[in-house]
């Protein structure tokens, strides 16, 4: 009998190898069908109309003129008279028609009567927000020894000591709002078959969205099938059915034709989610070695109308000095509501605080590496030793010691200076709940079926590898079916939970299937089932591999009926955990900054990352490449730009929203950190962790190059020049 566990490190045949992703050719050759690509016969195209004002009251929305446009088939208002609209781009109406052109004309024809209301969009400016009455306290958390009565006096005393014996810095940092910018926008293709609805939905949550369609449409959840074979990006923004997709389903019903509604780019960016901003004022005291003794900060920011800013729990980030006070203020703005963005809170927390740790090094004139190393004993997780080990590896890959110069003291060549910076991160990444069916057919075919989705992680490939490892088969022997709500439910893909979740359930399911098969084979080989194992495409007697049958032969013993085994994993309830949580990583950046133009170039980036047991090394590596590049994007290029005077999102188009291009990425060196201690923890999610630290690491590298801090991300040429006093 095979047990529920992983093979010992070094003994696996499939796990830890690097097969190509199963759907690579389908994706690269355009054969993969995304939601946007589903084109049922007689399909209507639909688009929505976003509100032109940042804050208003709806007096009326007249769609009748749209219905007169040739080619427009249906139109509906999505707000009622009297409704308050809280941001530019919130959706007012939907139009469906025969062609893109007809729909666009229809949207233009809609007559709006909106009563403008006062708005506020400036999230960086705390004073202005207070004046506009847009702030509210959002948390205050203090840690001091128990016997401290007067907090202010105590902090003042600590700062005085640090001033005398070490250093005190006072600084401001910030990270602007960014969007998800999924290249496939949010949306659906909705098809009714009688009273049953099929929604091809671009979603991170195949198993969880059917009820969200069913309830507003007044049908049973069991009558809704959600399908998502491929998704063109989600990053945390695609967990819901969303009102626009429900509206598309409604139009599909009323017109009797399939309807495809994908958000246009501007609406996508204004309405379908963003990452909250964070701005901080901080005073930090450290001893002469750079060990932080006291932290006192106030940060603010917005997540849209609700205001909720970056959590205080990530300030300061990973490091946790013995004395700290952190105060948070939320700012409510007339901007689109935030949604989870890859590693919620962490990238902002990292960029708002590990920059301060680097400024301690700058103030003391010591190596940033040493300051990070000396503060490791304070980390909030139990990974001080892991970080120290990872730092050593990263420094070697970066050649840190040879390249290091004190902040602002490096040589300048043709106005260009170079610099080094680092940051560390952490993330949970515990497996989500997951169930699966594993089928073994009498002809030897193997299927894994589960309601999961592939965001680009390589979910299909991971599942196939786990099943192949379990059954002693090659990866391509396993057929994987994911992407339907009719399959056994698996959790939503968020927070780096998927690879853990699906490997938990499929390892369990495949082991159960194998045990059923071994029971059939045992009598034939004249041994007990627990003396058998699956290896190299055969079922063999342990210790006596010459006594064996081929996989095909073994399966032929099943007669007419395939094996159908269930695999089930419930977080915190399942025995023999195959997964764990808690990832650590160290990243280092080397940049070149042109002091004349303010342009920052990434020369080299090193990422050392643990993720427990590694399933596919190639996919893990490319996922880290991608995270680093996404990190470079928010460190140097992208931000939402709001116009304080009109309340408009000024750069809500791809041509205006700056993102790195292929030539903007320097050398990226990835080290998959997998000592036996990590391997033995089982699978830990990887999607979020490596995207967290690039902001702080790059900001620190730029500061090391210039000798001055560019306080707010992204570090655009204009901000760099302003920090140099050339703005």
């Amino acid at each position: 009998m095979a047990n529920i566990d992983w093979p010992k490190q070094g003994t696996a045949s499939v796990l830890g190898t690097s097969p190509d992703r199963l759907d690579a050719i389908a994706k690269a050759s355009g054969a993969a069908k995304y939601t946007y690509d589903i084109v049922p016969d007689k399909m209507l195209l639909a688009r929505v109309l976003g509100c032109p004002l940042a804050h208003c009251k709806v007096k009326s929305i007249d769609v009748a003129p749209a219905l007169k446009v040739p080619g427009v088939v249906a139109a509906e208002p999505m707000k009622n008279a009297g409704d308050e609209v809280l941001w530019e781009g919130d959706i007012l109406a939907i139009v469906a028609g025969e062609t893109e052109g007809a729909v666009a004309e229809g949207l233009k024809a809609i007559k709006l009567d909106l009563e403008p209301l006062e708005f506020y969009v400036d999230d960086a400016n705390l004073e202005a927000a207070e004046k506009a009455d847009r702030t509210r306290p959002a948390g205050r958390n203090v840690r001091t020894p128990d016997d401290v009565d007067d907090e202010d006096e105590y902090f003042e005393k600590l700062f005085k000591e640090c001033e005398r014996d070490g250093v005190v810095i006072e600084a401001e940092y910030g990270v602007n709002v960014i969007t998800h910018m999924c290249l496939e926008p949010h949306g659906s293709t909705c098809v009714w078959e009688g009273d049953k609805l099929i929604v091809y939905h671009s979603t991170q949550n195949v198993s969880g969205t059917a009820p969200q369609f069913a309830s507003p449409l007044g049908v049973a959840a069991s009558d809704v099938t959600v399908i998502c074979d491929y998704i063109g990006g989600g990053f945390g923004s695609k967990f819901q059915a969303d009102e626009w997709s429900v509206a598309a389903a409604r139009l599909a019903k009323s017109t009797g034709r399939p309807v495809k509604l994908m958000l246009d780019r501007a609406t996508e960016l204004k309405t379908a989610g963003n990452r909250p901003s964070g701005f901080i004022k901080v005073k930090v005291g450290a001893d002469k070695n750079g060990v932080v003794k006291v932290w006192d900060s106030h940060h603010w920011g917005t997540n849209g109308p609700a205001g909720a800013p970056v959590s205080q729990a990530v300030i300061p980030y990973v490091f946790d000095p013995p004395n700290r006070r952190r105060v948070v203020t939320s700012i409510s703005t007339n901007t689109g509501p935030a949604r989870a963005w890859r590693a919620p809170n962490h990238p902002q927390g990292c960029a708002m605080s590990q920059t301060a740790y680097d400024d301690i090094a700058r103030a003391l004139g010591i190596d940033s590496y040493d300051v990070f190393l000396r503060n490791l004993p304070s980390v909030t997780n139990d990974k001080a030793e892991v970080y120290a080990d990872q730092m050593k590896i990263a420094a070697k890959l970066m050649d840190w010691k040879a390249k290091w110069h004190p902040h602002g003291k490096g040589p300048e060549r043709d106005g260009v200076v170079s610099g080094l910076g680092m940051a560390i991160h952490t993330w949970g990444g515990a497996a989500h709940n997951s169930s699966c069916t594993i089928k073994v057919h009498p002809d030897g075919g193997v299927e894994a079926i589960l309601g999961s989705q592939d965001l680009g992680t390589g979910t299909r490939t991971v599942i196939a590898m786990v099943v192949a490892e379990t059954l002693g088969l090659p990866v391509d022997a396993v057929k994987v079916s994911i992407g339907s709500s009719k399959y056994p439910a698996s959790g939503p893909s968020g927070g780096s939970t998927t690879v853990g979740g699906v490997s938990e359930s499929t390892r369990r399911g495949a082991t159960a299937a194998l045990n059923m098969l071994l029971a059939k084979v045992a009598p034939k080989l004249g041994v007990d089932a627990d003396q058998l194992q699956a290896k190299n495409g055969r079922i063999e007697v342990i210790g006596n591999p010459s006594k064996s049958v081929s996989w095909k032969e073994a399966c032929s013993l099943l007669g007419m009926n395939p094996i159908e085994a269930q695999g089930n994993f419930q977080r915190g309830q399942s025995e023999n955990s195959l997964s764990s949580s808690g990832a650590a990583g160290v990243q280092m950046a080397e940049v070149e900054v042109d002091r004349e133009t303010g342009v920052v170039r990434i020369k080299k980036f090193v990422a050392v990352q643990d993720m427990g047991l590694i399933i596919n090394r190639k996919l893990a590596t490319s996922q880290i490449h991608g995270s680093v590049i996404m990190g470079i994007a928010y460190a140097l290029f992208e931000e939402r730009i709001m116009d304080n005077k009109t309340g408009k999102f000024l750069n809500a188009e791809l041509s205006d929203y700056k993102l790195p291009r292929l030539g903007d990425v320097g050398e990226v060196v990835v080290e998959l950190y997998e000592p036996e201690s990590e391997y033995n923890r089982g699978v830990v999610g990887l999607g979020e962790p490596p995207v967290i630290a690039p902001g702080a690491a790059i900001s620190n590298a730029v500061c090391n190059a210039l000798g001055v801090r560019v306080p707010v991300l992204p570090l655009t040429p204009a901000r760099v020049l302003a920090a140099l006093g050339k703005g």
Partner: protein
């Protein structure tokens, strides 16, 4: 050495040319029929529209009859009439490269090209690089794992194919400079460079 002209890059087609060559660029939403009419008059051809007219498009070596309004982009016709959905609608102004197709040997954005303007031309989409024996570039993308969500990937594959056709011996630096018309949100650039280099090394 005009390949080194600023803004032209090594790809042999500059961003500007890429956009200019697209007759719909001026009417990014493809709503206005004006530019198409003006063009038609210039060429002395018969005016068509605003309703749909029948047109033959040669796509991947085969002729297809399509019904085209003058304002329809090539992308809309490829995707919704021919169900060739490899080219993706991401930006309406060609700024992302996701809708890259090859027309008469040149990479263009199907999102900013009017279908009518492709009459009599040879259109090649990413689908022509797939099939049972995929193109070397497609295989190299798989090997280098140069796709994550994969939504940008077909556009990249076509752009890399066109670039390498023109620069079969491109260096890493030339690749870094010549493929900046395409955008990827998942951050596959590093691996796209590897894939392109693999094709240079592997020869064809």
């Amino acid at each position: 050495m005009k390949d080194h002209d600023q803004g032209r890059g090594r790809s042999g087609f500059s961003r500007r040319e890429f956009l200019k060559g697209s007759s719909a660029a001026a009417a990014a939403t493809a709503l206005s029929v004006g530019p198409a009419v003006a063009r038609a008059e210039e060429k002395g051809t018969k005016l068509v529209g605003p309703g749909a007219t029948s047109l033959t498009l040669n796509v991947n070596g085969k002729d297809h009859q399509v019904q085209v309004e003058p304002r329809m982009t090539l992308l809309e016709v490829l995707r919704y009439q021919l169900k060739l959905t490899g080219a993706k609608p991401v930006a309406t102004d060609g700024s992302c490269g996701a809708a890259t197709v090859i027309v008469d040997g040149k990479p263009i954005s199907a999102a900013t090209t009017l279908a009518l303007d492709c009459k009599g031309k040879k259109i090649q989409t990413v689908e022509s690089l797939g099939g049972p024996e995929p193109d070397q570039v497609v295989k190299a993308f798989a090997k280098a794992d140069a796709q994550q969500c994969g939504f940008c990937t077909p556009g990249f594959v076509v752009a890399v194919r066109a670039f390498l056709d023109k620069h079969p011996n491109a260096t890493k630096e030339e690749i870094r400079q010549g493929l900046n018309g395409n955008l990827c949100r998942c951050g596959t650039y590093y691996d796209v460079i590897e894939a392109a280099l693999e094709c240079v090394k592997g020869g064809s």
